[in-house]
Symmetry: C2
Subunit: 199 residues, 2 copies
């Protein structure tokens, strides 16, 4: 029987499942993590997981999709900002890095495990990655046109370089005492900006 | 009976096992790849694998160790080079990137799968990673001292930035027609150098 409280509890069950999946996939890797373990960590019977998701693959995809929606919102926000292309690149890197270090596991999983997503969802991930590359590359190219960027640096490689340096954060980041995510993000953005500005 | 030809064949069996392990771990991920599949790909009976390695973990470690020895040799070579710290940083990035793109699978596996290495070997990997960080950081710091590097860029973050951008190569690199690994490496090194030089 679907009650009002039952309806209200539905998003919370989904949240618990996604959070548990993040923990299990982060700890064991996607390939070795099982739906049974995720159910255990979520404190739910395994069968009830299939009300939330249809497969392990879908679960991983849903984790990525949450991060992607946040990234999209950031890109829209930054695209609408005043200022030079380089100022927008800095704003984007700062926002993305701050979000990443506050969500190391779900965002880091994207870089670690995205190759395990198959079929139509893999095509969606590739399209999302292209949007993301195109956004960063667009800012770098606009910075060149505006005379803000080093002309010796090839925009496609600079895009991969910056995105690569962002991706890898989950592999080494450790919160430092007295340094907020925003401060860390600002310092990292400084390095990212230096990589595209003229020597 | 150990014959002369039997002795000569030993390294070749090891080579086949390591190469097969690279293929299987790259395709399926370390967690999902099995010793049985590696034996099949190597064209050897599973039991004979245990003459070469004692565990799956050791196999992955041996793959990493080969790359590490090559990296060490590069570091030694570059450390002995004449020229400024920045010229040595460029030389190192060029050599490393060229080696990486010619060995995408074994080198890329290090970045994808190193967290699966446990115990004493994990400590060895951490020590190796520290050597590697220290080398790049040493060049960046020397470049600062020599007045070649941007003082606004914090050396530890710049080190992570450059190393992160290198690590990620296996996730997006595709050989382009008419571009040699050395040419690609030189262009990528250009971006890496820009990230630490003054704007």
């Amino acid at each position: 029987v679907k009650t009002v409280s039952g309806t209200a509890a539905a998003p919370s069950r989904e949240r618990r499942v996604l959070d548990a999946a993040v923990e299990v996939f982060w700890e064991k890797g996607y390939a070795a993590g099982s739906v049974r373990e995720i159910a255990d960590v979520a404190g739910l019977p395994k069968t009830s997981l299939y009300h939330v998701i249809s497969s392990k693959d879908e679960l991983l995809f849903r984790i990525f999709d949450e991060s992607h929606r946040t990234s999209l919102a950031m890109m829209d926000e930054v695209a609408a900002m005043p200022g030079t292309p380089l100022a927008r690149l800095r704003a984007y890197v700062e926002r993305f890095v701050a979000y990443y270090v506050e969500n190391i596991k779900p965002v880091g999983l994207y870089y670690r495990e995205r190759r395990f997503i198959g079929g139509d969802r893999a095509a969606t991930l590739r399209a999302q990655r292209r949007d993301y590359d195109r956004f960063v590359r667009g800012l770098i190219e606009a910075a060149r046109t505006a005379g803000e960027a080093d002309l010796e640096v090839e925009p496609t490689l600079a895009t991969f370089f910056v995105i690569g340096a962002l991706n890898d954060i989950s592999e080494w980041y450790e919160p430092a005492a007295g340094v907020t995510p925003a401060e860390f993000a600002a310092a990292y953005a400084e390095v990212a900006l230096a990589s595209v500005t003229p020597a």
